[in-house]
Each structure stands twice: as structure tokens, then as C-alpha cells.
Symmetry: C2
Subunit: 268 residues, 2 copies
DNA sequence: CGAAGAGTTGAAGCTCGTCAATAATCGTGG
DNA sequence: CCACGATTATTGACGAGCTTCAACTCTTCG
């Protein structure tokens, strides 16, 4: 199945051109650090190599040693791992501008899988090239480091969510986070909401509930006019109420351009 | 209360000398990278400044901008955050050789607290000095990066634990992890187990259960001869059984000296 | 020695999981 | 384009794991 997909990768028809002008990586890094023309050009250069995946492909397999970094250009990917008893935990979702594996420096095997939820366009970055860039441009290195710090903060937020909140709060928090991330990308139309080929199964494995219970809570959200769920498109109807329920504060995502002052940057 | 503690810091009686020969940081980094004499010396130099905390002190407060990094020399610290409803999630425990805040490069405020469970000896590392070291000695930078990757992997493991396992499995996994980490430090005597001034309250806030339920499961563990719990000393009686219950595999902790091959290290 | 905190126990009940069956939707091939 | 199987969504009944509340004991520490 996978082999067929992979072999057909190059036969894909016309590819929807998603990356117009700016590299999504530049956009992302500039949340943290201002980049000059040279740095942008360098980033553009190492994100030229493209690759396309179909929904349900596997990007990175548990136990593999990729030796490369994937930058999500369009589509949605997610990290996950199965337990022996068949249960699965999802560790995170990767949207445009996210890097599949901050683990670039480690040459140890990956401890989880990265799958693809929708058809996804990816830029393949060779490790040596990225390393070189980080050495040459400390500001880029710094921004990449900050990206990984956001990842860690998000992971803590998820642990808190799964460990300390009840079902309603968990789901409200999940939708708030996803919505905030999609909004920051400017992907979707004015109507609050986002389109992800996300099933309730994935949501259940994200927040540590069963599908049945997720379904019931979602229905309650609909009944109470908080959000709508149809054909895999989530429409946030009452963002304020959801944030209230979840106790959501998007600060940890660092979506704004909260650039650090140079004072504390070792490299000036 | 806190102010009293802080003001009394320097009045402490004779300090138990824990750091004999090798800096715990060197020991830790050499899990990942072989260091030469010069690098070791440099690391020794920046870990000279010491500080001592009493049990229940706060090392780093949520919302603060420490501007320094703490290296745990002895004792146990832990990361945590409270929700508005009074519930608390613990994000991790810091033992000898752990760094309080891989967030060194970020000058944004810390998003969680770091407290101290027992009397703790800490080395204060100034940020600029650390940065300098990382620039000058790429191998050290690399090792620090790998340390933070282990942190991230551990966080994922906790999310999986809290999200997908039942109470017995959660607690078994927690004890397996703590035991493995203590064993790798060679802190405790031959008898398997470890001494931590850990209350059942903290354990509950770690794995997302209530104290009452933690208590019941622990009693069951005792009844079944899996572990003993007296006076804050945990004695692992049947490690194999606990690991079996939890499905524990210590690989993610990278306790062995699994040094990366230089081939993939950008800096040679 | 007394107070505060931690550990333990029991009863009651709610949230959430399990099982199971049906309806809706999706994806794929004919 | 339709039909088919497979996946997903939905619903109900039931039960269990865990929580809550509350009391009591034991330990710790000033």
C-alpha cells in the first residue's frame, strides 16, 4: 500500500501551488527573529526540494533514522505512537511552517511515527545543509531553537490538558489551540473555523478519551452552539465560550511576533 | 516564608559535600559526547558558583525571566503549574546533572514553576558564559541539545502515560522511570529503590490521579510484593513485574553512553 | 506537646469506558 | 456514475474505574 503510494509520488497530476512567495519557514522563523535578505535567500535555497504525500502516508517511521528534516508546506501531519495494547497517543499536529523533527541533530532513531492526515506538500531539507546554515547564521539557529521551545511548551500544555481537565475542558482546549494555530496561518476564510481531515478517532487519541465519549461531548458543543462539525470542517461558533471552558491562553504558542531583544542573544 | 528561606540561605550550617570530583554536568554530557580536557575544564569553570535551597523553596517562578541556568548537584527539584481550579500538573523531576531550563536562549518568561522537594545544591550558570561555551565548543552545544531532546522524549512518554494507561500502569511506569534515573546516577545503595521526599500528593499530580486512588493502588503494589513505601523511601521489590505492568522501556531516557557517531555531527 | 500535613479507610456516585448495533459517509473499483 | 465495502459517526444500555466527601490515624516538625 505504502509502496504504491510512494512509487506514484512523482506521477501526481498538477500540484496545487501553495507556496506563493515566501517560504513558510521564513514566515515562521520571523515570528522569533528578524531576518535579513541574505538569511532569507539561504533559507529559500535549502527548501527547494519538494515532495508530495497522500493522505494516510507515513512521513517518518518509528525506529527509523531519517537523516533529513521535513518542512510542512501544506496539509497536516501528526506525531503518534501505538502501545502494545493497541491504544494510540497523538503527540502533536504539524501545520504549514512546522518542521518534522527538531530531532535533526540526533542521529538516534525516531521514537514515534509521523503520519499525514491530508495530501501534504513537504520540503525536504538535508541535515548537513541545515547544520551549515545554523553555524553560518546564528539568528537562524536561535529561531530554530525557539521553535523547538514552543514545541516543548505545547507538549507541557497537552500533558496538563490530558492530566488535569475533564472531557469538556479537554476538547474545548484542543479546538482552541487548533483554531489559534490555523488562524495565525491565515489559511481559512473569515468564518472562524478550520478544515482538517480529522476524525473523532484522532481527537480521542489526542486527548485521551474514547471515541464514544468524544462524540457525546461534541454533540453537546453543537447543541449549545459552541461549534459545528460537518464533513471534517470545524466551525468555531463561540470562541470566547470555548476559551472560557478550557481556560485557554494562546501565549504558549507564541503566535505573535514576539521577537526577543538582542540583549540576551549570545551572538548579538 | 520564601523570603525567610532566601535570606537564610547563606546561614546554612555545614553543607554536605556532594560533588566530589567530577562535575555532574560533565558526567551527564558525556552520555552523549566525548569531551576533551579543555572542554571539561571549561565546564568546571562555569559551574563554580553554588547555591543552596531548602525543601519547598521555589527555584524558578512562573512568569519570571531567570536569566540564568541552574544545574542540580544534589537533591530533587520538579516543574509544575497550577490551574485556576486549584489542580496541579507536574511536568518533570530534576535530579543530579539536570539543567533547570533548557530555555536558556529564550528570554521570554518561564511558563511554569520549578520547586525543590528536598534540600538541594545547585550550580548557577550565567547565560552569557554558557552561550560562549556553546559557541566555542560545538560538542558541548551538541550534548546540551541532546539533553533537551531527552527532555522532550520524556515529556512525550508522560503524555502517553497519562493519556493511555490505567492507574496501575501509570504508577508502575512512574516508578520504573524514577528508579531507572536514580540507578543511572548510582546514588542509592545496592538495594533497588530510591529516597525522595515525594508525597503521594505529588505522585497524584504527576500521573493525573487523585491522592486517594494513588494510595489504593500503592497499597495493592505493596500487597502484591511489587514495591515498598515507607518514610518517603521507595523500595522496588519486583522491578521486572513493574516493568511488565507498565510496558516500560528505558530507551527514551538514553541513560547509557549511546554517543552519536561524528558522521552526522555538523561540526565534526 | 500541639498543630499541620500526610497517609489510610469507607461509602456513595458520577464521569467515562465498554459493548453492541445502526446510520451516515467515504473511498474505490466496476 | 453507481454500487460496494470500509470507515466513521451516532445511539443506548450497562458497568467499572476513578473521584468526591468525610472521617480518622499516623507522622513530622516547630
Amino acid at each position: 500500500m505504502l509502496v504504491e503510494y510512494l512509487s506514484s509520488v512523482r506521477d501526481l497530476g498538477p500540484i496545487p501551488c501553495v507556496t506563493e512567495s515566501l517560504s513558510p519557514l521564513i514566515e515562521r522563523l520571523e515570528r522569533f527573529v528578524a531576518l535579513d535578505a541574505e538569511e532569507r535567500q539561504a533559507l529559500d535555497k535549502i527548501t527547494q526540494s519538494r515532495r508530495y504525500y497522500h493522505a494516510h502516508d507515513t512521513l517518518v517511521r518509528e525506529g527509523s533514522m531519517p537523516g533529513r528534516v521535513c518542512l510542512i508546506l501544506s496539509g497536516v501531519a501528526f506525531r503518534y505512537r501505538y502501545l502494545a495494547n493497541g491504544r494510540r497517543q497523538i503527540f502533536g499536529y504539524l501545520l504549514r511552517g512546522d518542521l518534522c523533527d527538531t530531532q535533526f541533530v540526533i542521529n538516534n532513531e525516531c521514537d514515534h511515527n509521523i503520519g499525514v492526515l491530508s495530501d501534504t506538500e513537504v520540503a525536504i531539507i538535508a541535515l548537513p545543509a541545515l547544520m551549515e546554515l545554523m553555524v553560518k547564521y546564528p539568528r537562524i539557529e536561535r529561531a530554530l531553537l525557539m521553535m523547538s521551545l514552543v514545541d516543548a511548551a505545547t507538549l507541557r500544555e497537552w500533558l496538563l490538558n490530558v492530566g488535569q481537565r475533564d472531557a469538556m475542558q479537554k476538547l474545548a482546549h484542543f479546538f482552541c489551540e487548533m483554531n489559534a494555530r490555523f488562524q495565525s496561518l491565515g489559511v481559512d476564510d473569515a468564518a472562524a473555523g478550520f478544515s482538517v481531515p480529522l476524525t473523532q478517532i484522532e481527537i480521542a487519541d489526542t486527548v485521551g478519551l474514547t471515541v464514544v465519549h468524544v462524540n457525546r461531548v461534541l454533540q453537546r458543543f453543537r447543541r449549545e452552539g459552541l461549534l459545528n462539525w460537518s464533513r471534517r470542517h470545524v466551525c468555531i461558533l463561540d470562541q470566547a465560550a470555548l476559551e472560557q471552558i478550557a481556560g485557554f491562553d494562546s501565549a504558549y504558542l507564541r503566535l505573535g511576533r514576539i521577537r526577543s531583544e538582542p540583549s540576551l542573544c549570545a551572538y548579538g
